[in-house]
Amino acid sequence: MYRASDRPTAPATASDLELLRRFEPAAYFTKGEPFFPADVEHYVQDCSLWEHYPDGREELLVKQGELTLEKLVEPHPAAFGTVRFLRFIENLSLTESAQVLADQARLRARLRNYFHAGIGRLARGGFLPRLVDGLFSLSFLLRGRVSAATAAAAELDYYEMFKEEPKYVYYGRVARQNGWTVLQYWFFYCFNNWRSGFHGVNDHESDWEMVAIYLYEDGGQLIPEWVAYASHDFKGDDLRRRWDDNGQLEKNEEYHPVIYTGAGSHASYFRPGEYQAEFNLPLPSWLSGLVRTWNKFWTETLGQPAGNPFRIPFVDFARGDGLRIGPGGPQAWSPVLIDESTPWVSQYRGLWGLFARDPISGENAPAGPMYNRDGSPRSSWYDPLGFAGLDKVPPPPQALELLRSNCDKVVHRQEELEQRISEKAGELQSLGIEMKGMEGNPHLAKQHAALGKTLSALADEVKGLRRERSENTALLQGLTQQLERLNAGEQDDPRAHIRHLAEPDKPTQAFRFDRAAETWAAISLSLLLFAIAVLIFLAPHYVWAGLTIIFLLFLVAESILRGAFVQTIARITLILAMVAALILFFHFWKWIIVAALLTTGAFLMFQRLRELTG
């Protein structure tokens, strides 16, 4: 019988709010984090409401200070392509920007809320991703972006908001699907300052994050089985951990999963540490195809380690050394229950912060818990099981029943198959004898041919039935073993479902020369540009050769600092060898083909002659 006696429980009759409180998570932040889960009502009062039209115009609908949650959901017809959005921080002049940046520095000094990156993300990524990262940073000049002053002003405003009403809020939702009870905890942050505050990918006004706990009912009690945290780079099965996986899932006072929140990004992690969140540049499809083909050739044909220079590594700091909110910590949650009947949840489909007109959306604010940026329904809301890959997983008590029922079905089918195989095999033998009897009688040629077809079809059928029986035997064996394990109270490996496990970096072990690597990482790109400028000025006729040599020298310097000299030399030499091979083929293709033909001919002759002579 399936046992979960070591699990905490809650009565199935408990109210939604009681359930949410019983299992509410504890959130551990990184020192230096300025934004914490906030109250949307207060935030909305500090915002103005806008509309961005397809022709590029923007219109103010409700001024700052006049907006409420009720006004937010008032219907306002708009043309296709219109984006409705909130604006937390109004446009700042140059003087105001300088002022808020200075005020932000003073506030941080006063609160002693500093962040130290340690070995930064630049040193953790290689030279090529860093080069692409440089281009990515430059792209902000062309794309819409949220300014550093906006981030600073948001930090100051949030601080004032919190002083007026000091509380940490989560928005809890309880959904029931396919035998599971899903507790969703939604966290709203006024700002995501991952880029400006923590060297990350993006900044945007407002941020919605979610974690979910999946419970099943057994004997009138709800028992937690899975916990899923929304995170970068991961989806489906990879998002969830089993409640008894103590190596991955930390819990406070048995009932409360611990979330390590990424600094600035607010992504949720199961374990403390610094995670490499990789950002894939949105490449055109032809270029992605080319990169895929090259990677396949590089790894499969040449046997080299995989790498993608268009994947920029960003570090998400989830150290858990800052503020702690929730059970077991000094700060408590203020829960608010939400569902589809909550007007601001279901009726406001716009963005919860600035629409920065960023074509790749990284700097645009997100929509609410129920919607995506384009107003379409958010899958984690309407399909909370599919979000964590649980749509295919029955709750444990049902799993046992389903397994038994499956076993019975297979056993029944096996019996059916035995009977049919016996009948059909007899029929086949009878036809065989009949056919044999026709042989040697030319006047029965037609009947013989027709019988041959029937016999062949019947033989195929019998073969198919025997194959099915054989496959079912193996299936039944597996199902029976699984049933025995469940009956004995054994559980599978809690991580069997995970394909990609999020693991924190071990930065202290990554480099031979930490400080030098970090300094090199910071200045190498600029040095490269200076060297190219000098080359163009002093030796304009040899730009390509010079560029190649400079690039190679930088790669070698990088590899020495990263302790990868041998691998780098091997890769560079291999690339040069490929270029040289192409040149040789271009000049001597006739000779190469002739040599290949002669060699193949000689080899085949040797093989055949050896066979001939025994």
């Binding site: 090529l128 040449l302 040899y542 190649t548 041998v566 691998q567 890769r571 030499t573 040069l576 060898a577």
Partner: protein, 157 residues
């Protein structure tokens, strides 16, 4: 009866022999490059009859002697690497790969800028030998036998 001592020698893959043959071929080419300029300048008949420098510049004879000495050093280095390589030493793999990379880079610069930069034709024989060596050194079994590849994650560049 004395027990036969088991040999702990690592089995040498065929690629190692191919590389060794390529090193020998390169050695012979380099040896030719040592003597060719000296013969062209008739050093063996006349000795060093004219000055090697004209002010700060090398004379034709100076250039010939300089390149011969350089190729001689390379030939000797090639022999040292060959010995290390046949004894399956890790350092020889690293040295040979580095040298092949540098040699390929020079050959390619020579190819693309032959007329402008060096005033000579690219040496396709050297290029071909280097390509063979580079691909052979990259083979998994060769890297394993030299202790280069241990199938663990290495930081990317």
């Amino acid at each position: 009866m004395a027990r036969r001592k088991k040999s702990d020698r690592k089995k040498r893959p065929i690629a190692v022999t191919v590389i060794a043959a390529a090193i020998v071929a390169l050695f012979l080419i380099r040896l030719y490059q040592v003597f060719e300029p000296l013969i062209r300048q008739q050093v063996f008949q006349n000795g060093i009859a004219v000055p090697l420098f004209d002010g700060w510049r090398l004379t034709d004879l100076g250039r010939a002697l300089f390149s011969s000495v350089a190729y001689l050093v390379l030939s000797v280095a090639g022999i040292v690497v060959l010995i290390g390589f046949l004894r399956l030493r890790r350092w020889s793999w690293v040295l040979l790969m580095s040298w092949t990379g540098i040699s390929l880079a020079i050959t390619l610069v020579n190819y693309f800028y032959a007329q402008h930069l060096l005033g000579s034709q690219p040496n396709y024989a050297v290029m071909a030998s280097n390509v063979i060596i580079a691909f052979a050194l990259n083979m998994t079994e060769v890297q394993r036998i030299f202790g280069i590849r241990r199938d663990e994650n290495v930081p990317g560049i």
